[in-house]
Symmetry: C2
Subunit: 320 residues, 2 copies
């Protein structure tokens, strides 16, 4: 069930030529604030602005020559659509992207800029799946799932593998939990490369399906998707959940205002742009910081794609 260390190492070799080796930032001030030693793996500086590039590259590189010839297809309105578009272009593969008609025009423009071939459909899951199936039938393209795919998970794991190459003996690594692809990859890397390191997920209370799933032992679903962390509204899948169940130590849930406060803290103190989903593990650490005093902690900063015309700080200010 758990991919081997050899498979992880193969993924690292496979993605290396096509991704940035992102920097690891530290901050004396944030260390003081947390009472711990923090190492921020900056996937917000990754190509197309998020860790998703890694999974997309690994999944496409894993295809046969014939499959590559036929292209890949995914339905997404977020970072994975951009990641598949750019990864496919850089690997000389066609990318068909199914996007709901109400997707923001900036996101459609980004996919188009990266060379993705867009099919617009109604904004229901059924319509997206039907549009994807139609493309598969017509072109023979391979469907790529953003988080419930072993090769995507292995690709995501390479961020933590890089972090652990540079910073050994981490006590903990924190990552956000959405569809489960990043936290599963993070836990997989820790399992093979630094088994003493505990992996902790950060998740909004509003969409705490992973927290509940980890406790019940089966995949739970969310009643709502009402969180500012728009990248974390998705559900776990049958491929990543067994890995999470076995290798993730715990999930810490956070309130919406804690996410915004962590977002602002990283912007103001690290002087880097991260997106709300990316602030969730920072918020989780700060919420329970008394438990992590003097520990050596890696934090996967997952991405930095945010619309600067629509930021949460103004609203926060008006509310307070």
């Amino acid at each position: 069930m758990i991919p081997s260390r050899l498979e992880l190492e193969a993924a690292c070799s496979r993605v290396r030529p096509f991704v940035h080796r992102t920097p690891v930032l530290t901050s004396t001030l944030l260390n003081e604030l947390a009472g711990a030693q923090l190492f921020f793996k900056c996937e917000n500086f990754q190509k197309m602005g998020a860790f998703k590039m890694r999974g997309a590259v690994n999944a496409i590189e894993h295809l046969t020559a014939a499959q590559k010839e036929a292209g890949v297809v995914t339905h997404s309105s977020g970072n994975f659509a951009q990641a598949v578009s750019l990864a496919a272009r850089n690997l000389g593969v066609k990318a068909y992207i199914v996007m709901p008609e109400n997707a923001p025009s900036v996101k459609k423009a980004a996919v188009k800029d990266y060379g993705g071939i867009i099919t617009v459909c109604e904004s229901t899951l059924a319509a997206r799946e039907a549009a994807s199936q139609k493309i598969i039938n017509e072109t023979g393209a391979t469907f790529l799932h953003p988080s419930n795919d072993l090769n995507v998970i292995l690709g995501n794991a390479t961020a933590t593998a890089e972090l652990m190459e540079e910073h050994t003996e981490l006590d903990f690594v924190f990552a956000p939990v959405g569809g489960g692809g990043l936290i599963a990859g993070t836990a997989l890397a820790a399992h093979h490369l630094s088994p003493k390191t505990k992996v902790i997920g950060g998740e909004p209370f509003a969409v705490d399906d992973a927290y509940r799933s980890l406790h019940s032992g089966k995949i739970e679903t969310n009643a709502t998707s009402d969180t500012i962390a728009d990248g974390l509204r998705t559900q776990l899948g049958d491929v990543n959940f067994p890995i999470i169940l076995q290798l993730v130590s715990e999930i810490i849930r956070v309130e919406e205002q804690e996410i915004v406060a962590a977002l602002q803290l990283v912007w103001e103190r690290l002087k880097i742009i991260i997106e709300p989903s990316c602030a969730v593990p920072v918020a989780a650490l700060l919420r329970d910081k008394h438990r992590f005093q003097h520990k050596k902690i890696g934090i996967i900063l997952s991405g930095g794609n945010i619309d600067v015309h629509n930021l949460p700080f103004g609203n926060l200010n008006k509310e307070s």
Copy 2:
């Protein structure tokens, strides 16, 4: 008139233990957009968030033991007040900061956090100077000017010295022009370390005193201070102007909307937080980019202190 290479090297040794060696970032996308090879020296990641830390450290380190004992004083509502407060604290020196009563409370709080001893006065220059003089009379503290001081200029020069150590044979270095302390230091470093490199200043049209001064050969003043680049509203001084006149190749002026567009570009593409003044040299380069095709260009990103509750992007959006 021009400080020697030896003085520059002494400044580098003096500030090194007290400042971050900030990273130099690159971006394939911004290179493509500019048609040039760009090297961003990230002083927004500097301690207290701006290059001003360098000048403050160098000026304070240059004092005699007796002067250090008596402390330092400055009047500023911006980054220099924070820089002097933090530099003085780290060097075991008292910092008296005169701030106008209408200074934003966040700026007062930052100065206080860094250990500065605040005196509030009326918001006229006369009141600030009177309050500073009173402190000097009472304490014997040494007055530090934010930009018109050779040791501040030499401290500022160390940012470019670091950049040139890592990236040789730059064709151009761009820096913003406000009070003149940064551009003078930048030109000084280039003069001694890479004489072929031309230094270009970026300045808002709204406060183009430096542009006009370079053309007239004497210090010109601004009729207004109406620019979003709040760090660049100040005037040149008799210490930095001769250096600028001799060593700066040219000054390129930019419109307000070009500053906001450059700000947004750096935020979205480099995923780092910079302040409006810091975007000015980026805007200057992009405005005249046809002249810089295929060149190797350093850009001093001066600082990242911006109030995230009051960003220009929303307004831009509403106007367009």
